[in-house]
């Protein structure tokens, strides 16, 4: 089953303006390496800073843009990993190992299958 591991944290906790503290990069590299070696890693992306986001809505045929992320909350979406693993317990284990789990929240949600629009992806 595919699972999205959505990484949430308060900006400033995970997002650094300057160079990150020593060890943080090594942790992320090691984690990504391990996930990739396991054969279950489909994608991993870190998103640009939350205040550089733009929101798009189309209402009544008009395209509306707003400056900033969707939710003006304490925690923002920082990035995600996409894994293909046998069950929820395996996905939860990977989420717990993620460096971000120690200072933020990792939301684990399964990916739906059999969606009609997936047919075009081959």
């Amino acid at each position: 089953m595919k699972y999205a591991l959505l990484i949430y944290s308060a900006p400033g906790a995970g997002e650094q303006a300057g160079p990150p503290p020593p060890g943080v990069i090594t942790d992320w590299v090691a984690y990504t390496q391990a996930a990739n070696d396991s054969g279950g890693l489909l994608a991993a992306e870190r998103l640009a800073a939350t205040d550089t986001a733009t929101c798009v809505r189309v209402r009544g045929g008009d395209r509306l843009l707003t400056d900033g992320p969707f939710a003006e909350t304490k925690e923002y979406l920082l990035g995600f990993y996409l894994l293909d693993v046998p069950d929820l317990d395996t996905a939860l284990d990977w989420a717990a190992r993620m460096p971000a789990a120690a200072y933020g929240v990792v939301e684990v949600r399964a990916v739906r299958t059999g969606e009609p629009w997936q047919a075009v992806l081959g």
Binding site: D87, L88, R109, G114
Partner: protein
């Protein structure tokens, strides 16, 4: 299925639970398993009325339910069914038809237990799921037990089943590395059900026997499924020994009777015998734990003729051991009571002092009740009165509140230890 004889009702529930568990494990879809089983039972009602009960009713039901599950999966094929699953299910049904004995398969039942108690589900959801799919209670019975509107509880179960299916929670015994922690979680759910029955936190009755008995039934099932696990046996022993006092814990008017005043002739000796035996069995594994220690404390009470005759130094020592394993202010309160009995009220007050000072249990009625009792025995009547008032203010149970109010100055009555 018409009117089922009371004696058969439990067997009916067990059979239902076992079949649902078997199908859920193979399909990963609890709702589908439940639907197929319901259809199989309905079919049985018709067929058996016509043709009589078959020689192997459990087998008949399992095969029928499996076939109905396969049919449903085939109908759903447009939506995303793993073709391998269909052939597996068809194969296993064929194999099993010959060897059906109607005895619940341990792996299936354990798989259901661990799925229902998965930590990805909220605690109250785990309790509801375990009572429904392991103990086999109806939605209405569970709602009544926890004083919830039935539709809310039904919705909770529907959501949980959907989560299990869509999030990929498996009906399996967890891998070795995770097993200890997950097993602790299962015991916690069972103990929660028991405690809800033992000293109902809401509502007016002090004891809800039905919940205690369901928890004990779950405890016995777990012990059958996991015979080598000491703490599982310890939990069962604890529940049996506590429940043995049920008849004596309330008087005719529903007033709670503290341990010191209980008529021990009303204690259920059969439960005490069973509980003591289970505890001995647990301790033989030489794998001590909190449930075993708590059961040992209950066993010391169970063997005493009355409150004065009780081996309080032994109980104080056991609480000391328990505090070492799982330190907590609540355990310190109980230890203070025991020390107070073994070594006098001043010694008990000394144990209680840091708990009172810390303030973390300011709203915990038993703390204030214990404090009141120790102060009264130490001669501080005013202090005791204030503590009784505080105890009455902080309990959520109406029967207990009335009793605690009764104990304020001038009301008389020998307090004794407040745990019952």
């Amino acid at each position: 299925m018409g009117v089922i004889e009371p004696g058969l009702e439990r067997a009916f529930r067990e059979e239902w639970g076992a079949i649902v568990a078997a199908l859920a494990r193979r399909t990963g879809d609890l709702q589908a398993a439940e639907d197929a089983t319901a259809e199989a039972f309905a079919a049985a009602a018709k067929a058996w009325q016509r043709d009589g009960v078959p020689p192997n009713p459990g087998g008949w039901l399992t095969v029928t339910a499996s076939r109905k599950a396969i049919d449903q999966l085939r109908r759903n094929r447009a939506v995303a069914v793993d073709p391998q699953l269909l052939s597996e299910l068809a194969q296993s049904t064929g194999e099993k038809a010959g060897e059906m004995t109607g005895i619940p398969m341990a792996d299936d039942r354990l798989g259901m237990v661990f799925a229902c108690c998965h930590p990805a589900l909220a605690l109250e959801v785990r309790v509801a799921m375990t009572l429904r799919y392991v103990a086999g209670l109806t939605t209405r019975e569970i709602a009544a037990a926890f004083l919830l509107p039935e539709p809310s509880l039904a919705q909770r179960l529907v959501r949980a089943k959907r989560k299990i299916r869509e999030a990929g929670i498996q009906f399996v015994v967890p891998a070795a590395g995770a097993l200890a922690e997950r097993l602790a979680g299962v015991r916690a759910v069972v103990y929660l059900v028991f405690n809800e029955g033992y000293a109902a936190s809401e509502g007016d009755r002090l004891v809800r026997t039905d919940l205690c008995e369901e928890a004990i039934w779950l405890g016995r099932l777990l012990r059958r499924l996991l015979p080598g696990d000491a703490e599982t046996a310890g939990l069962l022993a604890l529940m049996l020994l506590h429940h043995s006092r049920a008849a004596a814990r309330q008087d005719a008017s529903g007033r709670p009777v503290p341990l010191a005043e209980q008529d021990r002739a009303c204690w259920d000796q059969t439960l005490i015998t069973e509980g003591t035996a289970v505890l001995a069995d647990a301790m033989a594994h030489r794998d001590p734990g909190p449930y075993q220690l708590q059961a040992a404390i209950a066993a010391v009470h169970a063997e005493a003729a009355d409150i004065e005759d009780t081996d309080w130094p032994q109980i104080a020592a056991l609480y000391g051991e328990l505090a070492r394993l799982t330190p907590s202010p609540v355990i310190e309160v109980n230890r203070a009571v025991a020390v107070g009995m073994a070594d006098g009220p001043l010694a008990g007050l000394a144990v209680l002092a840091p708990v009172l000072a810390a303030g973390t249990l300011a709203d915990y009625a038993p703390l204030h009740a214990a404090h009141a009792d120790l102060l009264a025995r130490a001669g501080d009547t005013e202090g005791a009165a204030a503590a009784w008032a505080r105890a009455a203010d902080t309990t959520g149970n109406a029967a207990l509140r009335a009793e605690l109010r009764r104990r304020q100055p001038g009301q008389g009555g020998d307090p004794g230890p407040q745990n019952s």
